[in-house]
């Protein structure tokens, strides 16, 4: 990927040039950038598709002309053999088109599949990035929506390349065929046709905007009704069904109106077909009739011209204003939404660029193993200085001016009521959340300033919701230290009392296809604890990480962590857990007392 960066730049510049047109047709600049990025491997097949379009257009180019000659020289002169022969030529051209169509599909696959791969990679990376850096809980409905949007973009790109491209080619070919037949007749068709196409292109931007409004309105309906149903118990207890329904009704009505507006805007398609297709038809008949009277135009040529208009131009216009415009506006809306949800990489954040996040795998290898003493250059005392944290600029601080020193090797328990800010403090200590003011320092350095590849080697945080991913037990245990040997892994399992679980699962190589469905919460917590026990970090923060273990199992796990070198901070779930600690920090409101 790295070697392709210059090519991307080139393509991005090119896309910027094309961007003006695309923006005019309803794509946002970020969507244009996303499109350029996702198509960057598809330039060669796209060129091949363009070349094949010429072969595909042959019947459209020839149909009217062949009909004219077949009539003039054949059927009207009582020589059906000649007429049939000309129709035979047309048949051969259709065969050529079929062969070209077949070949186009190969090239289409070479454009579309890599495009979907790139979009998927891009969206997955961004979703994970946002989930790991923001406070908001991830929206799983949004995730599956993103995924189906990627596939809709895939389908629509394919559909557009299959229908819109031959459409443009057909219109051009039919115009060329007409010109070959008779210049004057061609002019009668091309002028109104050009005007209609121009007006329609102009209306596309508005249509895409309106369609986008319907998509947003539908999301608003989903959001408001989701809120109402999430609050169902409260709404029932308040007897507030009517007011809740009224709030949803507002959104539903907006959605209804935006749908009607799209309908009104797309009704423009009929006049476009009328002006671009039927007016030329009537013009041909009136003027052409006069011209055949004075023998300026042959009957065959007139019928040929009418064939071009009714056989190629009108169907193409109908397709363009109906199906294709629908595809395009959906495509525009979806691409714009995807580009918003997952902004396109700028040159600094391109995959492969040297961001700190892209090399986390190197950490465990370069940091000492847990069995050794921690790094000689670092004495990881933790000092907390006037630490203050509030969820927003106007919000009451959850923690205010907390000062605390946790010397290396300490065992500290943090207790307090739920919602009081214990988890927030755990995240501040682990450096995964930035304080509003004040600092957490490890070995004298602000932990929030530590490079991403260094921090996990120093501090490990185990949240309450244990993360066990589909994979082997070994993968999960060695997540933070992949180089460990089996005896080391088993030693940790023994220390934490998880050998029975290992036996039940079938050893280190047991495959866990669905950890959430097949393991209990407690079992998952044990695996997460084992992984952290084996990590090189010298500071371990357990945030209610034993909440689903029974008292005895919790005691054994905590004892194991006490035996492990380094500092242990436990967000205590039970009084027994606090009793084991050397010191206890009580959080009550924004006050904290150390005992």
């Amino acid at each position: 990927m790295r070697s392709r960066r210059p090519a991307t730049h080139q393509l991005t510049t090119k896309a910027a040039a094309h961007g003006a047109l695309a923006t005019h047709l309803g794509l946002s600049p970020t969507a244009v950038a996303l499109l350029a990025d996702s198509l960057r491997d598809g330039r060669r097949p796209l060129r091949r598709i363009a070349a094949l379009s010429v072969a595909e257009s042959a019947p459209a180019l020839a149909s009217g002309w062949v009909t004219a000659v077949a009539l003039n020289d054949g059927f009207l002169r009582g020589r059906p053999g000649i007429g049939l022969a000309w129709l035979g030529v047309l048949a051969v051209l259709y065969v050529v088109r079929a062969v070209a169509e077949r070949a186009v599909l190969t090239s289409l696959a070479a454009v579309i599949e890599p495009m979907r791969d790139r979009l998927t990679h891009h969206v997955v990376h961004n979703t994970l990035l946002q989930a790991t850096t923001s406070d908001q809980s991830p929206d799983t409905a949004g995730v599956s929506r993103l995924s189906s949007q990627i596939d809709s973009v895939r389908d629509l790109t394919g559909a557009l390349l299959r229908t819109a491209r031959p459409l443009a080619v057909t219109l051009i070919a039919a115009s060329a065929g007409l010109a070959a037949l008779d210049r004057l007749l061609a002019l009668l068709v091309i002028v109104p046709l050009g005007a209609a196409v121009a007006v329609f292109g102009w209306s596309m931007r508005r249509l895409t905007g309106l369609r986008r409004a319907t998509v947003l309105a539908a999301e608003e309906v989903a959001g408001q009704s989701g809120e109402a149903l999430t609050c169902a118990r409260d709404i029932t207890s308040l007897g507030a069904e009517e007011q809740a329904a009224a709030l949803v009704a507002e959104r539903v009505d907006t959605a209804r109106r935006s749908l009607v507006r799209v309908g009104q805007a797309s009704a423009l398609r009929t006049p476009v077909v009328l002006v671009g297709g039927y007016v030329p038809l009537l013009g041909l008949l009136l003027v052409g009739g006069h011209l055949t009277d004075v023998h300026a135009v042959t009957t065959g040529a007139l019928i040929g011209a009418v064939t071009y208009v009714s056989g190629s131009v009108i169907p193409a216009l109908q397709l363009m204003t109906g199906t294709v415009s629908g595809y395009w506006s959906q495509f525009g809306v979806l691409l714009n939404r995807l580009a918003e949800a997952a902004p396109v990489p700028t040159p600094d954040t391109l995959p492969g660029a040297p961001t700190p996040r892209s090399t986390p795998r190197s950490i465990p290898r370069s940091t000492p193993r847990p069995t050794q003493t921690s790094g000689p250059c670092i004495t990881p005392d933790i000092s907390v200085e006037s630490l203050t944290f509030a969820y927003g600029p106007g919000a009451e601080p959850v923690l205010r001016d907390l000062d605390l020193t946790i010397p290396h090797g300490d065992h500290l328990a943090i207790v307090g009521a739920s919602g009081i800010g214990k988890s927030t403090l755990a995240q501040l200590l682990a450096g995964t959340r930035a304080p509003t003011s004040g600092a957490v320092r490890v070995a004298g350095r602000r932990i929030i300033d530590l490079p991403e590849e260094l921090r996990p080697g120093l501090v490990a945080l185990v949240p309450q919701e244990a993360y066990v991913f589909p994979g082997t037990v070994r993968d999960n245990l060695g997540y933070l230290a992949p180089q460990l040997t089996d005896p080391e892994l088993l030693g940790a399992a023994e220390a934490l009392g998880m050998l029975p679980l290992l036996v039940r699962l079938g050893g280190l190589d047991a495959w866990l296809p669905d950890p959430v469905g097949t393991l209990s919460s407690g079992e998952r917590q044990l695996i997460a604890l084992g992984r952290t026990y084996l990590s090189p970090a010298s500071v371990v923060v357990l945030d209610e990480a034993t909440s689903h273990l029974d008292r005895a199992a919790e005691g054994r796990a905590e004892a194991a962590f006490q035996q492990r070198h380094g500092t242990l901070v436990v967000i205590a779930h039970r009084s027994s857990s606090a009793a084991r600690a050397r010191r206890v920090l009580h959080l009550d409101g924004d006050r904290a007392t150390l005992t």
């Binding site: 009539l71 059927f75 009207l76 009582g78 059906p80 129709l87 259709y94 088109r97 079929a98 169509e101 599909l105 289409l108 696959a109 579309i112 599949e113 979907r116 791969d117 998927t120 990679h121 997955v124 994970l128 990035l129 409905a141 995924s147 109402a228 149903l229 169902a232 118990r233 709404i235 308040l238 007897g239 507030a240 069904e241 009704a249 539903v252 959605a255 009607v260 799209v262 009704a267 006049p271 009537l282 009739g289 019928i303 064939t307 009714s310 986390p360 106007g394 009451e396 307090g416 009521a417 739920s418 919602g419 995240q427 995964t432 996990p456 945080l461 993360y467 991913f469 997540y479 959430v516």
Partner: protein
């Protein structure tokens, strides 16, 4: 029978829009008729040209047909959109009202319910207009086929013989593509599942700095996805050109037959154009396959909505007057959940104006018992009375103004915090919200928010304790006979809880209160404690009298609840720290 409900729902939707539906059908029929006239009128105009005859009549007729057709199309498309949009809004609101009336009684996950409303409703709503459109188009195509026969029966015969071939190839293609589609879908779901599971571990991934490793893991099914995608393209490659070629060759064969008739003088040259035009219209029959698939989708959507609308609603009682007092009595109450009797022939009498703490180990059914008072749940057996009136006999609105709740995790809804506090009681004066918020010690931090009381709840950054105080304000703002505080102060620090308790006593001193709690200090402040044990009330007595019982003390030592109590204060008797919730008289 969800299928019949779905069918009835579609019928009701069509009936709801019957006038516009009739107009729509008329407009579509006009367009189809005009469309059928166009090829023959074009032919006669061309023949007039060939014969050097008078052009004005035929061209005027053609222009008229084109204009009428276009007008029919515009009117038809506007009507079909408005019928569908209207029906969709109607179905959505019907579903939402039903779901809201069900309230906490449905086990339908919110995400699923929202999907029904947002996706299934428009699908079902599209049915009437789509059905009308499909019927008219099918008739139009059949008309075109007939017109083709009438214009030139030889050409019609050739078409009738050849076009089934294309239909056959198209059908085989749809079947083959179905399998590849399923494989593709499975791989796609693999990516989504992996992504959702990684999102659940977002905090672990953040702490471990393993974003790239996780991205790679989630994308593991990508090669399979790509392979399935390429397989779909291969199937298309095998079929699409055949269908296109068959259609084109059918056209040529029909034209050849018509051309031969022109030579033989059986058909005017313009007739060739008429044949060409009817050919295109008749081929439209193939497109109807798509539309029929859409109709199936609409019926599936209606069936899904019907399944929601079939869930039975709670029945409101007839009595509109408030009960005479706030005395609560539960008699022989049994509630089963998952085959277990959570409450088992339970009896409880709460005198009017008393404060009663409800305690019991986690999972003993405290919240369920509290829910029975305001009919957030109904007992399977037994009766709940307030002021001697069975709650089932009360009108639901009256009941919800008689019993009010504050919850451990209140869910706020409304456009602003002010609206959220008075939600459902727009009749109360505006200052009631701020007054109640002051009593619940929520006024201070609400005023600190950037928008104050105008801040939307979703945008107000609140801790669990702050949220509880807003929930408490919501309950305190409402005049009622019975107040249920279901663990509603568990997230407050001790000082704030004392302040709030005092304010609650001041405001509600003469009202009946049921206080679900895990804290001995809170229980100590109530007149009586109802100790819920194994589905029954094991004791109803003052806290001080019960404290000697080690079994009672063990209720508060429940390990799973230790985080809600002060972990160190379990060993001494709990006096009432604030004069708190005790009856003031």
């Amino acid at each position: 029978m969800p299928a019949t409900t779905g069918g009835r729902l579609l019928a009701a939707t069509a009936l709801h829009a019957r006038r516009r539906l009739a107009l729509l059908t008329a407009a579509l029929a006009v367009r189809a008729a005009a469309g059928l006239a166009v090829p023959v009128l074009t032919a006669s105009a061309v023949d007039a040209v060939v014969r050097h005859g008078d052009l004005r009549g035929p061209v005027a007729a053609l222009a008229a047909a084109l204009t009428v057709g276009a007008a029919g199309e515009v009117v038809g498309s506007l009507l079909s959109v408005s019928v569908a949009a209207e029906a969709s809004a109607w179905l959505r609101m019907r579903t939402v009202r039903h779901l809201l009336a069900l309230g906490p009684r449905t086990s339908l996950p919110v995400g699923e319910a929202v999907t029904q409303m947002v996706q299934a409703a428009p699908q079902a709503a599209a049915f009437p207009a789509q059905a009308a459109g499909t019927a008219v188009s099918a008739l139009g195509s059949a008309g075109a086929l007939a017109a083709l026969w009438l214009t030139d029966w030889r050409a019609g015969l050739v078409f009738a013989l050849l076009s089934p071939l294309s239909a056959l190839v198209a059908r085989r293609f749809v079947t083959a593509a179905g399998d590849a589609d399923a494989r593709y879908l499975a791989a796609r779901i693999g990516v989504v599942t992996a992504l959702v599971s990684a999102l659940a571990g977002a905090r672990t991934i953040r702490a471990a700095g393993t974003l790239d490793v996780e991205t790679r893991r989630v994308l593991t099914p990508l090669p399979e996805l790509s392979a399935a995608g390429h397989a779909i393209w291969r199937i298309q490659r095998g079929a699409v050109w055949k269908i296109g070629l068959l259609l084109a060759l059918t056209d040529i064969a029909v034209l050849a037959a018509a051309g031969a008739d022109v030579t033989a003088g059986r058909l005017a040259p313009g007739g060739l154009l008429a044949v060409y035009g009817y050919l295109a219209l008749a081929s439209g029959l193939l497109d109807q396959i798509d539309t029929v698939l859409n109709l199936a989708q609409a019926r599936a959507g209606a069936a899904r909505l019907g399944a929601v609308l079939d869930l039975p609603l709670p029945v409101s009682g007839p009595r509109l007057a408030r009960p005479p007092s706030g005395a609560v009595s539960l008699h022989g109450v049994t509630v089963r959940r998952a085959g277990r009797r959570v409450l088992d022939r339970l009896d409880l009498e709460i005198p009017d104006g008393a404060s009663v703490a409800l305690v019991g180990v986690t999972g003993s059914g405290k919240t369920l018992l509290a829910a029975l008072l305001g009919r957030l749940a109904d007992p399977d057996e037994g009766e709940v009375r307030i002021g001697g009136v069975p709650v089932r006999e009360l009108d639901l609105t009256t009941l919800h103004r008689t019993v009010v709740y504050a919850f451990e995790r209140p869910a706020l809804t409304g456009r602003t915090l002010h609206e959220a506090i008075l939600f459902g009681r727009t009749d109360l004066p505006d200052p009631a919200a701020e007054d109640a918020a002051r009593a619940a010690r929520a006024d201070g931090f609400i005023r600190c928010l950037p928008g104050g009381y105008r801040t939307p709840p979703a945008l107000a950054p609140m801790s669990g304790g702050q949220l509880q105080r807003v929930g408490l304000a919501r309950a305190l703002a409402r005049p009622a006979l019975v107040h249920v505080l279901d663990d509603a102060t568990s997230g407050l620090d001790t000082v704030t809880e004392n302040l709030v308790s005092r304010a609650v006593t001041e405001r509600l001193g003469d009202r009946t209160r049921l206080v679900v709690t895990h804290r001995p200090t809170t229980a100590a402040c109530c007149d009586l404690v109802a100790w819920l044990h194994r589905g029954r009330i094991r004791a109803l007595a003052p806290h001080a009298a019960l404290w000697a019982d080690p079994g009672y003390r063990a209720v508060f030592a429940d390990p799973a609840d230790a985080d809600r109590t002060d972990a160190t204060d379990l060993d001494t008797e709990q006096p009432c720290a604030a004069d708190g919730l005790r009856h003031t008289s």
